[in-house]
Symmetry: D2
Subunit: 505 residues, 4 copies
């Protein structure tokens, strides 16, 4: 039995909900997207939202035209205003990623994704920095400098990969970063700017970025990278399968920037993991499973030890990098499918959002916190086997001695929520329903119902100020348990035996 | 095993949802009430709403005044319009009960209830009929004759009880009925009028009402009575306990009017049971229990055999006959507590609302119906023991052979919802929480959560066009089961073994 | 003075609101679009919605893939379901236009519009008809045959223009039509199919289409064409100017199909004008003006004489044929701008939606109807000068003698709404504000306010059952006037002179 | 011409919106009330809400019962929680008035109002203080001490009037105050407590209250009184007429506490005018008129000079002191009628809510403020004649020289809203409609429409950094004018002459 200490060693850090990822920004114009955003904001409470495509053609910002024979560029914010208004209305702030290249400013035709984000350097740096300045200036004008200073600005995405930056040209990226960072600071020196938004495989890039920044005296207010644990994609139609490394590998990746930058000028800079997930593919069915929630639970709980934020990629399945999804469960990144069906990993985050501000203890399969009103909350998870080599048991036992209020005897009201292979698992229901590609409204209702966690409650005795809490976790279960000391208001005249139908047992 | 026939013998009648009861009409001005009404309308779909107090002072319709020395009466519809607008906005129609007496028209000071409904005859019959005519005329003007003709009009409430009609004066009631019925018909002959809204204990009243109606040639478009099964109240502070007769006694009461009126001019008249419940007290804890849902299940399923409607008394706990409730669970009549916590009996009705239009079979512990799209739905319930003399078993087994689509092999998706002593039972959770009288917002959230039914799903084989469906019901369980034939869209390339974390078992 | 007859010669036809146009269908996924759709549905009540792009890549329906070395096509309805669900939720039905070509099925690379709708014939007719059948079959399965039979299906768009159909190849269109119409009928013979959706300039196409249909015995349940009155585009950056023919030219175009088809097998077929507007350009400022409402008023009032429907192109400015709009007022087709600012022409439609079912009279500058409750409603409009050659006066007088209830004296409550150069004219306000490209939230509030019509009310005497109603219309005004006979409930004790601050005059 | 200074002498104080009055607290359970509250909160932004009846029987807090032969009291918060939750959900805080007396604790049967508030002292002071303590303790437990400390607590209402406090017994009030204030402080010493909530006619009470508080060392955190200007009621059925003193008399009353308390221990205490209006009757038609808004405008603008708050009595017509209203316009106190029709005085407040934080100048007929973004806003009002002896002119001219941005030339966008005898005046429309007692839904729509202010906009030149703003106010007009410096974004290629239908003039 694990004895949870009664004194808190400190707060449970908020890094897990600082930011979350999203599909390309113009998808934020959609109702399904906005409904999903409102839901995750209400039930999870992410602070920022980061996605690609701010400067891509679908946002319509960079608009060249000819007048009296001369080329001009108009900067238009029709879509950007709607996107940012929608975010702020939902209570979530932009984490601005500057990219990709507007086609009329692009140095080439190379694109990434089904929606063709142009990944080439600008053919005119002055036109690019004018675009950056105009955009930031507009945002400051519309939303106020005080607000915009809380929006980190990241330069480009994964420049170390040729899919995202032509030839993965490191010098070209440094040049882009330098011009861009200065352009941002010209608008308002207090707007934080950073990069280089590296992919997991980048070798030496971060060190060289630090060295470049020092050499050129370029502003870097934070550093960023991404983290994924999947192997190569094995394709099937509309999907892939991949192997996964153990989840701890994600924590290693989160920790890498602080290690790499120790001793450089960027040593103290905030580290933002601006994307993380198991698989980097939006069509890997693992994202939809109970396994996935249990796999990521220890990462989400411990990630704050290693980075200032780590952004789950992505909050919903309105996302089209490999095309428009062909089924409600298609292996998308989202915490939510289209139409707001909660996946198991959604519940992992929603459970975490119900934890208290004061950490009591943490372990391999549990996290215990306390609320200011005295409630104690437990997050517990079963072990997983991503390799398929050491199958996990059907039941995982865990027993905690939980401090609950002052010493003495009493009773605790214990509420438990759980998701596993059977519960809170709309994917399992969908498979049983026959994997309907276009579920009917009735089927959507059933899927929403199947996505609700298992719920139960009971009373346990408090002895010596403690509750002996035995938990048995099902396969791939993630459980949330809340313990509240009972203050009994049952009136003195109440006689349970007079209630009709009471259990005689 | 019970073999459910594949052919429907006919429709499952809708009498169970024709009407539902409510606390006094001016409570309909409240937001909590309107929110509750919208919820029951959406999830259950009652057609009409009947409550006391249309002419009581809280509705402010009858408004005498003096002008130039003479007494006049103004008929004012400020509240009535808001009440009826709210009902119609929720999609539910009034079932008008004409009563009680405005104090300025009353023949005495006798009142009923904490809110003092005056139960005396009018001191001026012409002023009463003017009130009736003015009210109906106003309603026809505002909502149209076509609409108002769908609103039955019932004269008074339980005149056979001295608490509700001074001295239970039968002749006086007949006079009131006659004057009132004619007044209604003067406004529009197609508005249905009826009575006499008798209490369960009325002896001979219905026969004499028929005889009176024939003798005086008075219009009677329907007859009405009430049904309850509880014994005398044993009081505790803010509550009572009572014995209950077996639920079948309710069906006897439903059936009594057709028996009593056989051979009279009213033999063919529609019979509306305008109130029914187990206990007639709004402070008996039985209303809040899982026992109550299981007790009433066979009544709600079979009631349509005996009457054209039977109105559960009442849809929500916004109801103040014995005073303002002092706790969220106080034994109120409501399907819903204040703030829309669903009670087990709410789910009984919500499950019934999901049954199909075509009856397949009915039994002591089950009802099976079919939807037009082929889904088969089962309502099943465990036996109860209201007397405390023959305790029910902890498990009640039931096994059905359910026809599902054409002959041949296949699979069925089976979805089950259930409420019992542990599930869908906010009352049990509230007791465990310590019976908080004024639950905090967090406790209200937990109670809403605890009120959700248990949910599960599985696949069962279809053999020879049938599913062998074993159901084991828990103590006091009411279960809803839906069977859908699976049309499998799993693509040919899907290989379950490639899914990470799949159960190797 | 025009004497309005007291007897109605018949109903005012509903052709004006049978259908309305929209930008490409996947824009229906946007929140701004859905909010706009809900608004026009509530305040105007269009029955159907027609737009391009059902089969374009942005809807993601046609999805080829390779499995075990063979090419297959999956038909995916992820977006289509969301689009149709959104329409039906708003209470509006699809008018399905089958087109453009999925790029993976296209016979060439030619595209139209900024969003690149492919305008080439299918490279495989069987794959095209499979796509049509699969889509209709899916819709019938999801929404029911009874529902889908109310959705007209139109084959392609403006095949007589090379921008919309490669080489404007008439035979190729006939082949496409024939294959498509048969495919639709295979799904359900009661689904109406038609075409050929001609542009205004098509010469002889309709006659040849009728002849082809007869010769090949191809089903044609309705015929369709478009109507516009603008001359060639004179370009400026992000916009055009054009001349306009007099509005009566639109009525000529509406009338052309019945004339052309007289004597053919299609003589009795319903005629749908599936697009009409003044200018065919989505960047002509005329669409935003008060002039435009007054220009179209006589067309909208009289159009029902000539066609079974005529669909305003389009209901809102979420529309991107020439790119993403760069300002809230950019000359878009919409009745509404982005963010639901009502344009003057929106009010023309909203006023028409308030007219009664019974026509009383119609004239060059007015329409008078009566409601079932006796109210009389007038739509009146000032003359316009599209040519700039005969400037219109600042004031246009009109005087009507309006029958209002039975003969005799009394009073009328007269309510007037109007839009003109100063009122209900957000465009004028926007120009005065300095034409802000990205209005701030406060500016948007002011624009919404400026878009509200002028409102006034007064009392006029009724003499001999008639009201002498003088109306003076401002420049480009469209006015709505409602006359109600006053039923005075002022109590006898009311003495106006006792009201403090009353006008002594 | 009045030259508005360019420099602000200081902020415009917020006293006008610190608090607003309401009908008895249990009316807050109604939907109409809550809808009205949400509206005034959104458009006006009152901070607190004060009403009678917290301890009256309709709130059901004081609940005596007998158990085992002994009398006990249960304190029940079923309604209070719903009321406070509703306020806080609307963003408005309670200003708690402790009263009237629960009937089971009352020392007598005397009541006030149609709803019978008991106005007698407690028959047991200990039971009263237990009630106060229990209620405050519950509120602190539910909403937190930090929150409840922002809710002033006022002891009783108008004890100087025998209608509100038996025999207007001053010593009995002092005893009640003392016991109550100590009970409040026992719960939390930081909760502000005060009184004595005097009526306008109280003579010497405040001075004696200060002397009593000093003598007995009783906590008094604020002092309160009421202000009205009407003469005696002249009754008609369902209404009254009264004379009114000039509005300046209200300011005298606001100023009286500071004068009276100068030199006492309460000299520095905050002064809350916890009720004010012209007439103290809820059935005087003056409340519904445009006259009323113009009459109160100078009071609302200047009141902050004299008191820390002054609460308009009341925010809506859901109010029943003289019975349930018999018509939508019945002379109620409300800023809003039932169903949220805005009265002219509502607009006075809504206009004030749009004024900027920085005062520029104030005068007899105007107030000018500036927003942080540079906009200048003007509130202007026409003179009134409450006595009927010196009729006001039909037009009231006013001319301001308004500083707008830096020196130099330019243009201003000027937006004007106004309410007067013709505009923003639903009462005038209702009279013209024939004073319908129970307006139909269509009539309600027309009344909402008629309640909208007149709106116009224009451009004026800026010369030397100033706009010459001539305003002509109509009879009883209250106008809001907003001036914004135009930043012109009209593109260089725009040629107004090319716009079809442009005014050639």
């Amino acid at each position: 039995m694990i004895r949870v200490p009664a004194e808190s060693p400190g707060p449970f850090p908020d890094a897990w909900r600082y930011c979350v990822g999203t599909g390309r920004l113009d998808l934020a114009l959609r109702r399904d997207y906005q409904d999903s955003l409102a839901l995750v904001r209400r039930e999870i409470g992410f602070g920022h939202l980061r996605g690609h495509g701010l400067f891509s053609d679908g946002m319509g910002i960079h608009r060249p035209y000819t007048h009296r024979g001369a080329r001009h560029v108009h900067h238009s914010f029709t879509h950007l205003d709607q996107v940012v208004d929608a975010c702020l209305a939902a209570g979530i702030r932009p984490f601005l990623e500057l990219g990709f290249m507007p086609s009329a400013l692009a140095g080439g035709d190379d694109t990434v994704f089904w929606w063709r984000g142009n990944i080439t350097p600008p053919r005119d740096t002055a036109e690019w920095t004018a675009l950056v300045r105009a955009t930031l200036t507009h945002l400051v004008g519309r939303y106020g400098a005080e607000e915009v200073r809380t929006w980190p600005v990241e330069v480009w995405n994964e420049p170390d990969l040729p899919q995202f930056w032509r030839d993965a040209d490191e010098d070209a990226y440094h040049r882009l970063y330098e011009a861009t960072a200065h352009a941002v600071k010209e608008v308002d020196a207090a707007i934080p700017v950073g990069g280089p938004a590296l992919s997991p495989g980048a070798r030496g890039w971060l060190e060289r970025f630090a060295e470049f920044a020092e050499r050129r005296d370029v502003p870097v207010d934070f550093v960023s990278r991404h983290a994924y644990t999947s192997g190569p994609a094995q394709h099937v139609p509309f999907g892939v399968h991949q192997t996964l490394a153990p989840a701890g590998r994600l924590l290693d990746q989160f920790a890498q920037p602080r290690r790499a930058l120790a001793g450089t000028r960027l040593a103290g800079a905030p580290v933002h993991i601006t994307e993380f997930n198991s698989s980097y593919r939006p069509d890997n069915p693992v994202h939809d499973t109970a396994f996935h929630a249990a796999y990521l639970a220890p990462v989400v709980v411990a990630g704050g030890d290693h980075a200032d934020s780590f952004a789950y990629w992505t909050f919903c399945d309105v996302f089209e990098e490999t095309g428009i999804p062909t089924a409600p469960f298609h292996g998308g990144f989202g915490l939510l499918t289209h139409r707001q069906i909660r996946k198991p990993v959604y519940h992992l985050y929603a459970f975490l959002a119900r934890m208290g501000p004061d950490l009591l203890t943490r372990g391999d399969d549990h996290l215990v916190t306390r609320h200011r009103d005295g409630r104690v909350t437990v997050l517990a998870w079963a072990p997983v086997d991503p390799t398929g080599t050491s199958p996990v048991p059907a039941r995982h036992p865990l027993r905690l001695s939980v401090p609950l209020g002052a010493r003495g005897r009493g009773e605790a009201f214990v509420r438990r929520l759980g998701v596993d292979e059977e519960h809170g698992n709309a994917y399992a229901a969908w498979r049983r329903m026959g994997s309907p590609r276009s579920p009917s409204p009735h089927q959507l209702d059933v899927l929403h119902e199947a996505a609700e966690p298992a719920r139960s409650h009971r009373r346990l005795p408090v002895t010596g100020g403690r509750v002996d809490l035995p938990l048995t976790l099902a396969r791939h279960e993630v459980a949330f348990v809340e313990l509240t000391r009972v203050s009994d208001e049952t009136p003195p005249w109440w006689d349970e035996r007079r209630l009709l139908g009471r259990d005689p047992g």
